[in-house]
Every structure is written in C-alpha cells, then in structure tokens.
Amino acid sequence: MTAPTEAFAWRLRGHLYRRIRDTGAVPSRAELATDFGGADTEIHRALRFLADACVLALDEHGEVWMAHPFSAVPTPYRVETPAGAYWANCAWDAIAIPVTLDTDGRTSSRCPHSGAVIDLVVTGGRVEPGGTVVLLPVPARRFWDDIGFT
C-alpha cells in the first residue's frame, strides 16, 4: 500500500472511531464512503489495510465487524456510559470501552457457569465488583489467530 493510501486509511480509522463514539453504532462501508468521502473500493482497501494491521476485524462482506473494543453486532456485553451505549466484543472490551472513552460505564451480564448476574462497573478507572474475573481462552500471542473465538 502506498504512503498516501496508508495515510487515507489512518484518517479513516480516526473518523470511524469518532463516528462510533458519537452514534453508538459501527458504520457500514457505504456510510463511511458517504460521510468520510471516497469510492467504495478505496474504503474497502483502507479497511483491509487496517484489518491486516490488527486494528479492525472485517466480516465476510468486508464490513467492519470489530473496531476494538467496539463491536458492530450485538453481544452479551452492552456497555452503558454517559457518552452513549455500545456493544463490546467481549468482557475485557466491556471494561476497555469506558477506558477508551475516558468515561465511566456499566455492563450487566450473566456468569456462564453459575448464571449469576454480574454488573461490571467502571468508575474513574476503577473496575468492580472485586472477585470477578475474565476468562482469556488462549495465550496473548494467539489472540489474533482466531479473533472471533478469542
């Protein structure tokens, strides 16, 4: 990828994240082309570049699936913040969204083993309730081997 095209991709990334922050939704490629400007092929190439750099994950249609820590699709982790509500890719990302947005947040889910309700609360960077854990299924060096599974 040429330097100007890489620069386009990084600018697109910034726009994408601001758009998610402001709307709570991950935009489609068509929406990006309209809002940010550019032909679909150019947007698609830039998103592929960002995916190859492990910045995003795309679905089988080349649409943004994960813009970490945000998810384009509903998951068990819905994060409520003063800035808006967002889908997190996983429990770690439910913690990471308030951190990313520099705000507080709350996510209600159920423990997959016990069924107990878990209210994850991030306040001023502090995460509660104590004793709660997140299960990381594979070691860190394998996080991106199958990002959907991770």
């Binding site: 990084w10 600018r11 990334r13 910034g14 994240y17 601001r18 922050r21 750099a53 492990c54 910045v55 970490h68 820590p69 068990p76 982790y77 996983c90 429990a91 770690w92 990302d93 439910a94 913690i95 990471a96 951190v99 990313t100 947005l101 520099d102 889910s109 423990c111 997959p112 083993h113 016990s114 107990a116 878990i118 994850l120 991030v122 960077g125 502090r126 995460v127 509660e128 104590g130 004793g131 709660t132 854990v133 997140v134 299960l135 990381l136 299924p137 594979v138 070691p139 860190a140 060096r141 394998r142 991770t150």
Partner: protein
C-alpha cells in the same frame, strides 16, 4: 472472553470445554491493562502498539509468565 463470578467458576467452565491454555484475570488487573492497551485509541494519531509497548502495558498491569509472552 467471558466474565465469571469467580476464578473457580471460570476455570471449571474452561475445564469442561478443554480450554487448557485459558487463564482467568481479575477485572481490576484488566482495567489496568486496558489503560496501556487501549489508551489513546480515540486520537487521530493513534497507531498500533509496538511489541515493546505491549510488553510494557502487560508489565505495568502486573502480568507476567508464559501466557503473556507476546512472541
């Protein structure tokens, strides 16, 4: 990555599914890790962390061991 009420619950769930390489991490530690791993991501100037920066974020959160070796 799923949230569990306790480490015991998480590891029991993992054992049933044969997730032998899994690790349970406290949410406070993940909050610390998130600051290094995700901090600054809203900035236009953000770029992926270098391997050294990732290792520093892991260390800063108090994490170590083979699970956290980044290759």
């Amino acid at each position: 990555m799923l949230a569990f009420r306790s480490e015991g619950d998480a590891m029991a769930w993992a054992a049933v599914r044969g997730l032998e390489s899994a690790a349970a991490v406290g949410i406070g530690t993940l909050g610390e890790l998130s600051r290094g791993w995700y901090g600054g991501r809203m900035s236009d100037d953000w770029r992926p962390l270098s391997p050294a920066a990732k290792k520093a974020a892991v260390r800063s959160a108090g994490l170590s061991g083979e699970f956290w070796e980044l290759g």
